[in-house]
Symmetry: C2
């Protein structure tokens, strides 16, 4: 049985529903989503493999998940660095940034240079609302991640990929294949084109809501906020 997926349109509708009738605040959801991402990084890249995690942060909610993940990674003992070139005025992102500054997490300006001394990369640039062209300054960042010698973990969507169709046929991102993907709440259709280790995170969806959107609550174990799944969505 093929894994059930949430289209870009359905993912946007689910997000709206969680924050309206579902009564979640974006702070809550982003905290749990970012926590999931940090748990995946800890699973695939334990501290013994090197503490330096470079987090590429985009201008929207996917970037916010990355900021939260970086904070938790710092608490776990990692040494994250943040590349955050486009910072919206939004108060939430400003607060998440301040929380990192208080932990003395450095913000870097030159992504390719920072990549040289990173042990792992988190791609939190674009999420399920991305479509169209990759805007500056991100083409060079995605090219650098595509050619990185260290593993890359993408948050929800490999940045530049079409949420429903997968990697672009040509141009920026056509050669970007991250090693790890953390699907949030449910996988998106692009997973058909993804070959790496696949986790699902974001353990906050009620079974009734999952049913309405035609997916299953993933087979999380114990207190885990994440679960690694195979191509059919079964627990590994």
């Amino acid at each position: 049985m093929a894994i059930k997926t949430l289209s870009a349109k359905a993912a946007a509708a689910l997000d709206r529903e969680l924050m309206s009738t579902g009564a979640f605040s974006i702070d809550q959801l982003m905290e749990l989503a970012g926590l999931s991402v940090s748990q995946v990084v800890h699973r695939v890249h334990p501290l013994s493999k090197g503490p330096r995690v470079l987090v590429a942060v985009g201008p929207g909610n996917n970037g916010g998940d990355g900021l939260v993940a970086a904070r938790h990674l710092r608490h776990y003992g990692y040494e994250p660095g943040i590349y955050y070139p486009k910072r919206p005025k939004n108060e939430l992102y400003q607060r998440l940034t301040k929380q990192l500054e208080d932990l003395e997490v450095p913000f870097v300006d030159d992504f390719p240079a920072a990549l040289q001394s990173a042990d792992h990369v988190v791609d939190a640039i674009f999420g399920f609302s991305f479509s169209g062209e990759v805007r500056e300054p991100f083409p060079a960042v995605i090219n650098a991640m595509a050619e990185a010698k260290v593993p890359v973990t993408s948050v929800d969507v490999p940045s530049s990929w079409d949420v429903d169709e997968g990697p672009p046929k040509s141009g920026v991102g056509s050669n970007f294949h991250p090693d790890v993907l953390v699907s949030l709440t449910a996988p998106k259709p692009l997973v058909k084109h993804f070959k790496g280790r696949h986790f699902i995170g974001g353990r906050f969806v009620a079974p009734a809501i999952a049913k309405k959107y035609d997916f299953e609550v993933p087979p999380y174990q114990g207190i885990d906020q994440i679960v690694e799944v195979d191509r059919d969505g079964h627990k590994l």
Copy 2:
């Protein structure tokens, strides 16, 4: 070396600081605090010991932590029930309540009756801002917890205890000795009088802030949001 503690006054100041200069929202802090409580319950009372966790919820933030913990416990597979007799109009608590309703978590009116069929109890009635007398309807609830045949886990403060002085000398709560305590951010002075299993949770305090308030960031391990400590504050 004795464990470092945060007085009621210092705990209130730290809370204010986290939400002002620390840039945290109450939604974030409560989510992480409640998550810590759920992890403690899972540690001391794994599902195999029985799924029915009765959560006694007070009218303030301690109660909010209990509501969040109950939601996570539900996701872990427990069957929580909520006793929540005094519900403030505050929008946050209404949202946390709705999130539980969407998971079909039952709310009960009769605490002693519900206790008869519970496997574990979470005391989330009063926290670090409690002082003075226990108001109705909570005296009977605290008496019932004091005599419960199943283990009780208290959130931050055993309800009815003075935050700085410990259990009352007489009256309601003088015979209440919970089995487990989850101190949030740092232990309060009452821990000197506590004999059960002691955990610290709430993994969000920056080292600089802890230093300012004269405590150490607890020795959390890996991705754990909690750590069990001995009477000197060392990891068990």
